[in-house]
């Protein structure tokens, strides 16, 4: 199911409360650089009651912020942190939005398609590890 980013939070909340999708399986994102709305934020939800799984997708532009789903499902805490870490998508209302897998001072968001993987974050490596580059 594809929803508009503006009503995304509302839809998720309705899904949890009315449709009993009480288990947030995953929150992830996909980057399509050539589209006008490059990011696809995907919420995968599951209902124990109906034994059904649903995918809620919303398309957002670069820099657009989504409302955090932490108040609906506490699972979303780390899942959204990872989306932020890897893609740079920020969530409003998230209690502690900071990098989770990469070191805190890292520049760049690796899973974006335009991330320069060979250049990586040379600065961080040089400052913190004292070596010329990670290659």
């Amino acid at each position: 199911m594809v929803v508009d980013s503006a009503i995304c939070y509302e839809v998720l909340r309705r899904m949890r409360e009315d449709e009993q999708f009480d288990y947030c399986v995953d929150i992830t994102a996909v980057h399509y650089p050539k589209r006008e709305q490059p990011f696809d934020v995907v919420y995968i939800l599951y209902s124990f009651h109906d034994n059904e799984r649903v995918r809620v997708k919303t398309l957002i532009t670069d820099g657009e912020r989504l409302r955090s789903a932490v108040s609906i499902w506490p699972t979303a805490n780390w899942l959204e942190r990872e989306v932020f870490d890897m893609f740079g998508i920020e969530f409003d209302g998230h209690p502690d939005l900071k990098r989770i897998l990469l070191p805190d001072g890292w520049k760049g968001h690796p899973l974006r398609k335009d991330y320069p993987i060979l250049q990586q974050d040379k600065d961080w490596v040089q400052i913190n590890l004292g070596i010329e580059s990670g290659q």
């Binding site: 109906d50 034994n51 799984r53 108040s71 506490p74 990872e82 690796p110 899973l111």
Partner: protein
């Protein structure tokens, strides 16, 4: 579906309370008004290198004397960028990478990935391949639980179960080695089926293992289950109520020990699990002791499944008819399996080329680790180690 089947996977009390619980009540965010470095409290760092945190996990504990007030997990020490790598490899080339994530139970990672890609192609592996896959995956489940049991007992102080468990794991790894040549990172399955035929004596080896293992699992139970020191260290520790489990997205034995009778092998059967008769063990209190019992029972149920699969192993091809150069149709798929640690999911986006556009791995340990904070509030420092052990974390999976 009528009401009785709808609530079939929930214990009665969960079904009743679920309606009323709202998300803000489930997670205590009461430490928000205090700074993390309050002067009267001690901040203790269980650093990345530590004998009891299985892998490189850093846990920052805020203590009041001995009691834990809050924790913060710092992960990412083992982040290898597996998802980014996937975008630059073909589907078959990526297969060995998935083993390296949950390296303790490599076979089930491979199973999930192969099934997800097969779902993209809308095919299924042939019957014989499915049975072989099930046998190997259940052996892998036992192996993973053995590692868990040995290391968990070691953390709590019992030195001997570690060696006994690894002795059993040796037998399983010997079977893996005979089957596909590798013990740990097996790369046992291919997209479309299995590449290796079951070797001569495969069924006999599995049967021998099952026969030898059941009395041994009784031995482990005898050593620990009624031992009052063990019970004292694990009963009432790290309690996680079923509503919290569901809200925090915890799956696997942790969820089942809290009383929620839910297993993906029964709820959304994949492979040939429909053909097998097994039970889902559940616990009552959701404490460490229940998780221990659930996992021991799961091992026994796995033995049951292996016996049924070995007895009913059909003949036939072991790989389905898929093109040599894998170019799945454009689309997305999410497929999850019941890995030993929980729900392992693969979300694959294909753009029609030979390389996946995006592979997202939903790691059970990552989501389970979030629950650590809730579980150790109010416990003593010595219990934190027990709770980390009982969550069955593999950092390779948490960090990918």
């Amino acid at each position: 579906m009528n009401d009785s089947t709808r609530t079939a996977y929930l214990s009665p009390q969960t079904a009743q309370t679920r309606r009323g619980a709202g998300a803000p009540d489930l997670l205590d965010l009461d430490t928000k008004d205090q700074t993390f470095l309050d002067a009267t409290e001690l901040v203790l760092n269980m650093g990345p290198q530590h004998p009891s945190t299985h892998g490189v996990l850093r846990v920052i504990l805020k203590l009041d004397g001995e009691k834990v007030l809050g924790t913060e997990c710092v992960i990412g020490y083992l982040h290898r960028g597996v998802e980014k790598i996937a975008e630059n490899r073909t589907y078959t080339m990526f297969n060995p990478y998935v083993d390296r994530m949950d390296y303790v139970a490599a076979v089930s990672n491979g199973l999930g990935y192969c099934e997800a890609v097969e779902k993209l192609f809308a095919t299924e592996a042939p019957q014989r391949a499915q049975y072989i896959r099930v046998i190997l995956t259940e052996l892998c489940r036992i192996a993973s639980h053995q590692v868990w049991l040995g290391t968990h007992a070691l953390d709590i102080g019992a030195l001997t179960p570690l060696f006994y468990c690894f002795r059993d794991r040796e037998e399983i790894l010997k079977i893996f080695e005979k089957y596909c040549g590798a013990r740990l990172t097996t790369h046992a399955f291919r997209i479309g089926g299995c590449i290796y035929e079951a070797y001569d004596g495969f069924e006999q080896d599995c049967k021998n293992f099952c026969d030898a293992f059941l009395p041994k699992s009784d031995e482990y139970e005898e050593l620990l289950t009624t031992n009052r020191i063990w019970v004292g260290r694990t009963k009432g520790i790290g309690i996680l109520k079923p509503e919290d489990c569901i809200a925090l997205g915890v799956t696997g034995p942790v969820l089942r020990a809290s009383g929620v009778k839910w297993d993906l092998r029964k709820a959304q059967p994949y492979e040939s699990y429909k053909a097998f008769d097994f039970e889902i063990p559940t616990g009552v209190n959701g404490d460490t002791y229940d998780r221990y019992l659930v996992r021991i029972q799961e091992m026994r149920q796995s033995v049951r499944i292996i016996r049924q699969a070995v007895d009913g192993l059909p003949s036939g091809p072991i790989v389905a008819k898929i093109p040599k150069v894998l170019k799945p149709p454009v689309g997305e798929v999410y497929h999850s399996i019941e890995a030993p640690k929980g729900e392992l999911g693969y979300f694959i986006v294909s753009d029609g080329s030979t390389q996946p556009y995006r592979v997202r791995v939903r790691p059970p340990s990552f989501v389970n680790l979030q629950a650590l904070d809730k579980m150790v509030r109010g416990m003593l420092v010595a219990d934190v180690v027990a709770v980390i052990g009982t969550l069955d974390i593999v950092l390779g999976e948490v960090d990918r």
